[in-house]
């Protein structure tokens, strides 16, 4: 009894101090960070580790439910590379990522520069571009699927009307064009995001730098090369990194437009990984492909973080 009487106030004091630190000390910061960490670990960290683990295991229908499975070493990786479709998918992924990002970035930058000219209505029209961004990928895919349709698609009609092509191009089913059909749709889908981020970066460059450069004798092209581009360095880094991640994540367009066909000519890594896991039920290979992609994203992120380390602004 006496013991309890003695410890009571001590525990109460501890408790009070803990609550006080929650209210106005570092305790509150730790609480916030902690909540985010728990969430991150549970929702992203554990599945990620599980995925990596699975890529080193033998997975079949019988071991699907268990965590500990026979160790496979790098056998899954070797098997994936030996898949007949591997190099085709790698090439498609490269085309998809490189040209989607390139198209989104170049056209997005051009539009951002255009709308930075401050003509009447510039910001309103720029706002309208957001429409493409809020549309779900499946819807965009379906629309582009119609536009690109070989027999009744509007793109063919326009190109024929302009005299660029003589007969219909079967964008979605011609092996030479199928991957490009998805690239075109993806460029359209990511354009607004690129333009918006780049617009923000452009707006952050002080006007008087351009005026000083102009008085120093720089013409428009020289101002772009010596002022705009270097000042946009971190923005461009962010746009390209996010673009890479976004492109490697882009999934909806594939089932909506080509379903990876014909004969895998428009299959890219992320779609292949999904096919492996959820159509062929080869979970080990599906996980392996996604880990390979993860490594690519990781390398890109490291390059980005390093490039922004010596920020020059301010």
């Amino acid at each position: 009894m006496g013991v309890i009487m003695e410890t009571g106030p001590a525990v109460g004091g501890l408790m009070r101090r803990f609550l006080a630190s929650l209210r106005d000390g570092v305790g509150f910061d730790i609480l916030l960070v902690g909540a985010a960490m728990v969430f991150l670990i549970a929702m992203a960290g554990l599945p990620l580790i599980y995925n990596v683990l699975m890529s080193f295991q033998q997975v079949d229908m019988f071991t699907l439910g268990s965590l500990i499975r026979p160790w496979a070493g790098f056998q899954n990786y070797i098997d994936v590379v030996r898949e007949p479709a591997f190099w085709l998918v790698a090439k498609n992924t490269f085309i998809f990522v490189f040209f989607s990002m390139g198209g989104q970035f170049v056209i997005g930058f051009a539009l951002a520069l255009f709308f930075a000219q401050n003509f009447p209505g510039a910001s309103t029209i720029r706002g309208l571009f957001l429409v493409s961004w809020v549309m779900p990928g499946l819807v965009v895919g379906a629309i582009w699927s119609w536009i690109l349709a070989g027999d009744f698609g509007v793109l063919n009609t326009i190109l024929k009307g302009l005299g660029i092509i003589q007969s219909n191009v079967f964008w979605k089913s011609d092996p030479a064009f199928s991957i490009w059909a998805v690239v075109i749709a993806n460029i359209w889908l990511g354009l607004a995001f690129n333009m918006l981020l780049l617009s923000v970066g452009l707006a952050a460059i002080p006007r008087d730098l351009y005026e000083a450069a102009e008085l120093d004798g720089a013409n428009a092209l020289q101002r772009f090369w010596t002022i705009t581009l270097p000042m946009m360095r971190s923005t461009i880094g962010a746009v390209l990194s996010l673009g890479l991640i976004g492109t490697l994540q882009q999934f909806d367009l594939f089932p909506a437009i080509t379903e990876g066909g014909p004969a895998n000519t428009s299959t890219v890594a992320q779609y292949w990984s999904w096919q492996m896991s959820f159509q062929l039920y080869d979970f080990a290979k599906g996980a392996t492909i996604s880990v390979m992609m993860l490594v690519l994203v990781l390398i890109a992120s490291i390059i980005y973080v390093r490039s922004t380390r010596h920020e020059v602004r301010g």
């Binding site: 002080p206 008087d208 730098l209 005026e211 000083a212 450069a213 102009e214 008085l215 120093d216 004798g217 720089a218 013409n219 020289q222 010596t226 002022i227 270097p230 000042m231 360095r233 020059v312 602004r313 301010g314």
Partner: protein
């Protein structure tokens, strides 16, 4: 002497807003011209129009004898020092200095040598490899100056270049800029809202208000002979006192109150309503019979000077000796009649 910059009837509209109204100004080669005026009077607009950063609505602008309409800033061969300095944040001091040379295809070695030379004259030699964010305000100011002088341009334009510096540094930079101007034999146009800066640095001062040049002339001429009440109040620190009054019957004084009259050196039109302008530093505490009086409302002493302000705030007096007055004292004042200015109460024009 030839005019290096010649402005004739310059008009500038921002939409419906008339920012510059028929501005005509001739700037001699080798002169240092200050543009002064209250905030929003169009000083920056005028300067930027000379640089070509603003297009003028109408009027003629000649630089070194050449018509400048339609000539882009980069072909005007003019250097500008911005209030914000506008240093290129992603370039080192050396790269900032040599930017214009590199654009004009000057070789690396030559540009480097030129930068070293300019850095030596501006005191930047030790800072060449730093970035602007690693510099103090005064050092940034010097880089901005160096970037301007490295090109040896036809004219230098300064837009309030010292307003971001502390008072002591401002006084020092004032002298340095003027010394640099003399050494280079440059033509400079200097915008400031600080009339002391204008008076001390310039050969020629242009006072602007609401887009109009109110008066231009040599600094002391503006001080001695302001053409109107606005210029009189703007030039000189502390500002000129203005007292409403009526010219006396004999025309030799301004009656400003019961028994108080400010003497005049010349005959004026009797019974006319006027505003008398007297500078605080010209007022004297009367030894014998005073011509007019005021009641002390505030006494400030800086050690070297004493400032007395009247109870109603209308009059201020500066004396270099220490005065033993305190609040509430009635002080008799006197003034040299030759130093009294008269203005029309309606138009503000000098009488």
């Amino acid at each position: 002497m030839t005019a290096q910059i010649e402005l004739k009837n310059i008009d500038k509209h921002y939409g419906a807003f008339h920012a510059l109204k028929k501005v005509s100004l001739s700037i001699e080669k080798g002169s240092f011209v200050a543009l002064v005026g209250p905030s929003g009077c169009g000083k920056s607009t005028l300067l930027r129009s000379i640089a070509g950063l603003e297009t003028i609505t109408s009027g003629d602008l000649h630089i070194a004898g050449k018509e400048m309409t339609g000539v882009p800033p980069r072909h005007r061969d003019i250097a500008m020092v911005f209030q914000s300095y506008a240093l290129y944040p992603h370039m080192t001091v050396e790269e900032n200095l040599t930017y214009s040379l590199r654009l004009h295809g000057v070789g690396k070695a030559e540009a480097k040598a030129k930068a070293a030379e300019v850095a030596a004259t501006t005191g930047l030699s030790a800072l060449l490899s730093r970035y602007p964010r690693q510099l103090s305000g005064g050092q940034r100011q010097r880089v901005a100056m160096g970037r301007a002088i490295i090109r040896n341009p036809k004219a230098f334009l300064f837009d309030e270049p010292l307003s971001n510096l502390d008072a002591a540094l401002r006084v020092q930079m004032r002298k340095e800029i003027r010394a640099l101007h003399d050494r280079l034999g440059a033509t400079s146009v200097y915008v400031t809202h600080d009339q002391i800066e204008a008076m001390t640095m310039a050969d020629w001062v242009v006072v602007m208000r609401d887009g109009v040049i109110e008066q231009q002339g040599r600094p002391l001429d503006l001080y001695d002979q302001p053409v109107n009440r606005f210029v009189a109040g703007f030039i000189g620190s502390p500002a000129m006192n203005f007292v409403d009054g009526v010219i006396s019957e004999d025309g030799r004084g301004v009656v400003v109150g019961a028994g108080d009259r400010i003497p005049l050196a010349r005959q004026a039109e009797p019974n006319r309503k006027v505003v008398a302008g007297v500078r605080p530093e010209n007022l004297r505490v009367a030894e014998g019979a005073a011509s007019f009086h005021f009641e002390v409302g505030n006494v400030e002493s800086t050690g070297s000077a004493t400032y007395l302000t009247s109870k109603d705030g209308a009059l201020q007096l500066v004396q270099t000796e220490r005065l033993g007055f305190s609040v509430g004292d009635r002080v008799g004042l006197d003034i040299d009649p030759a130093l009294v200015h008269l203005f029309d109460p309606q138009t503000g024009a000098r009488i």
